[in-house]
Amino acid sequence: MRGPITLLAIAFAGGLMASAAAPAADYILTGQKPDQLVLIDAKARSVAAKHTIPDAAPGVLTVTPSPDGKVGYAIVNRWESVSGIDLDSGEQVFRADFSGGDKRVKAMFGMDVSPDGSELFVFLSPVSLKAGEYEVGDTYVAVYDTSAGVGAEPVRTFPAPRRTAILAVSNDGSKLYAIGWDVVVLDAQSGEQIGVHPIRNWGRQNFTEPDVLDVWPQWSQADVFSTPYFTIRTDKAEDDPAAYAMGMLTLDLQTDEFVMEEYENFEVIIFSTVVNPVRRNEVYGVYTQLSKIDIEKDELVERIDLPHTYYAVNVSSDGSELYAGGTMNDIAVFDTETLEQIGSIELDGGNMALSSIRVLQR
């Protein structure tokens, strides 16, 4: 059983919200094919701005807002560039192109901004295009100074494990979590590996290695990264449904607490999840269903069918509503208590596809 969330953590979370001063409203930030960065007034259910990202086609991958909600960073240009767009003016205020010379370098999903907004972390996978052959290079994290403008070069780089899919900076800015096969904890300054929370290497008896694939940055409302995992219990008969277990992994970016606990037998695929910042025991997952999971009791609370598949989901700051997006070009809004659909936001134009659904306050 996952322990009850400590009073300290709640107090701290509350403190953080309080310190975010101004009475801000929630905005959703996402990307649309081929080159759109879209800002949506969440409660008004309306598009506030659409900005065209230069040289972005064919699509927009990971989207990360600056902590002050002024700039949106997006992985674009066949994952070979990151562009920072001023969300008010639509101007490109930051750009880093990773490829150059005989190197083709792609960002593999993972990107985050330091809590003070000064540094941008991107996980990169390089290949050298030589005459008549390719040569795969080692993966690494590139760190950029967000004030470097257009044509930014990394201020430092450090190695990170292959197959990393999520980069998340701890709330205090000291740690960089590289989440892939395992959660590798890197010193955000030096890149030195300072810890590891094993996932694939969890070594639990009578369980297979858990399978995780999460490329959606949806932790910033609760400051908890969560992702479903699938594992098979080898001590159960193959035809026993209990042999196929779904679990929830959570990593608290405030406390470094890391938990993996099963909550149901495998029923449906869940692509991505989000933790409610207010009722912090509640996690919601999407794909062809919307699922509500209680991670204190480790149980499925409710599940409804969605009108179509949604890859990504995020939650309002008051914990009252969910925004399911990705895949196509509409965002469905659900009540977190009842899972009833209470709204829909049509984006028109290209699909969101794999783009992130972020919530920021402005």
Partner: protein
């Protein structure tokens, strides 16, 4: 015509139809001028190119990639000339392709039998295992192929079967070793084959085979030489129920034995993927509609006798009298249909077809009989049976694809055949000693394969089974708002064939998955 005009670029097999005269420039010069810009010349050839061998389709896929990714341009005839030259000088010997010909022949519903479990998991989830088993390389060049894969498709290590292991570490160490072990560049088979002279194939050939979903056919093809390794063909084919097709075409032979032909038949363009036998006197393989490769058939051909090609029909019921035709070349002499089958009379005999009236004894045991006409013989060519004890559906597992609906891709149907079996000595159906009787007419239906398929009403939405012919036509592509989650018309079905065996019904089933379109369809899948 430049490569960019050939759109979509994978019109590969069409290139083989291109019976243009050999390119004016010496093929070696062409290779040097087109390729040495990036593949440096060495004493024994151009880098990368000298380190590998491929089938004609394999070479063409590489040439297309050089165009698509690396910007190589081919003038009219150049791509065809390069495929020919590369396949002739750096091909695979017949014994090296024998196990994997289904991939070249585009045989529907093949479940592969990989030789190596690690390679199957690492290398056969996006495409067939045959794709690499139909190449030969040095270990170093196999390693470079791994570099190409991850360099070009960096999500490989994130996908299922990529993220559950250290994909790149394995692909860059163990995999090239295994590949070089199983599929090395230097082989005795290739040294021997590439040193041989290859025979001219001109002449009159007798052919026979099974037209999928239709039944046995036979005929004659006149092959005439049209320059080196190029042939013109005129065929007359006799299908069941009196359907006769006259078909003209042409073909190129690669690597001394890889026959790739195109013919017009009944308003369709037919592709032929055959292998010439090592003695130059047989052809075998598959032909199919160029626009719909599930519509095809098997073929064997011989030109010199005495030899038996086929027995039609290939079975007789104990206690019955029937006309049986033996097809072949140089058929002359006494006919024998094996134990328990008496020849009542010879109806006709012309050297190519011998038709007899035969009677199977009422107590003749189930089994396949050797057939002979004079000096020509064929083993297990005729089945004798008492009753149909079980039915197997071929293919046992296959895929159909939604299509049409104003989209660019046509539907990909699935064609099934019902094959009757008699129990062997053990009296049980489904065991190794079952006797294959042959193809039977059947009544066809589909059922949901799983509870989910039943709940989603896949039978209703996924497509339509022709109850008489076993042809399943999938439904239209695209999201279907009538279905839960507006899902597309995919489905998971059991296909059922019911054979009427003199009044008693015997059924068999197969699994059919109806899925989405295949957007890229290279010659080796």
């Amino acid at each position: 015509m430049s490569i960019t005009q050939l759109s979509p670029v994978f019109t590969l097999l069409a290139v083989f139809a291109f019976a243009a005269p050999a390119h004016a420039a010496e093929p070696d010069e062409l290779l040097n001028s087109k390729c040495s810009g990036c593949h440096a010349r060495t004493d024994d050839g151009l880098q990368r190119i000298k380190d590998s061998r491929r089938t004609p389709e394999g070479w063409d896929m590489t040439l297309v990639r050089m165009a698509q990714i690396h910007g190589v341009k081919y003038a009219e005839g150049e791509r065809a000339a390069l495929i020919k030259h590369l396949s002739d000088t750096r091909g695979l010997a017949p014994s090296e392709t024998a196990a994997w010909r289904y991939a070249l022949e585009r045989t529907p519903g093949v479940v592969e039998s990989p030789e190596d479990a690690t390679l199957a998991e690492m290398c056969a989830r996006c495409h067939t295992y045959a794709r690499h088993a139909l190449q030969r390389r040095t270990q170093e060049d196999w390693l470079k192929l791994s570099h190409f894969h991850l360099g070009q498709y960096p999500t490989t290590e994130y996908q299922a079967l990529g993220r559950d292991r250290n994909w790149w570490e394995i692909a860059s160490t163990e995999v090239p070793e295994l590949l070089a072990d199983h599929y090395p560049l230097d082989t005795e088979a290739w040294n021997e084959w590439s040193a041989r002279e290859h025979p001219d194939l001109s002449g009159t050939w007798r052919i026979a085979g099974h037209a999928e979903g239709e039944g046995p056919y036979h005929g004659t093809v006149e092959i005439s030489a049209e320059g080196e390794d190029r042939y013109a063909t005129v065929a007359t084919l006799n299908f069941p129920e009196g359907r006769t097709v006259v078909s003209e075409g042409n073909a190129i032979v690669y690597t001394g034995y890889e026959w790739r032909g195109t013919a017009d038949a009944d308003g369709k363009t037919i592709r032929q993927v055959f292998a010439v036998g090592e003695d130059g006197n047989t052809l075998s393989g598959r032909w199919f509609d160029a626009d719909n490769d599930i519509d095809g058939g098997t073929l064997t051909a011989v030109r010199e006798g005495p030899a038996i090609l086929a027995v039609i029909p290939e079975y007789i019921r104990a206690g019955e009298t029937a006309e049986i035709a033996v097809h072949g070349v140089g058929l002359d002499g006494e006919v024998s249909l094996g134990a328990g089958v008496d020849i009542v009379e010879t109806v006709s005999a012309d050297g190519n077809i011998v038709v007899v009236r035969a009677m199977a004894a009422g107590d003749a045991g189930a089994g396949r009989r050797d057939v002979s006409v004079g000096d020509a013989s064929a083993s297990a060519a005729l089945a004798v049976f008492q009753s149909v004890d079980s039915v197997r559906v071929e293919p046992a597992n296959t895929i159909a694809r939604v299509g049409g609906n104003d989209g660019p891709l046509a539907k990909v149907p699935a064609q099934f055949d019902a094959v009757a079996y008699a129990n062997g000595a053990d009296g049980d159906a489904g065991t190794d000693d079952d006797v294959r009787i042959g193809y039977f007419d059947a009544t066809w239906s589909v059922e949901p394969a799983t509870e989910i398929a039943a709940a989603l009403d896949d039978v209703e939405y996924a497509g339509e089974m022709n109850t008489a012919t076993g042809l399943f036509m999938p439904a239209a592509a695209g999201l279907n708002p009538e279905r839960p989650y507006s899902t597309n018309n995919a489905g998971d079905l059991v296909v059922k064939a019911t054979v009427d065996d003199n009044g008693s019904e015997v059924s068999g089933t197969a699994r059919l998955v109806v899925t989405v379109q295949r957007w890229i369809d290279p010659p080796i899948r």
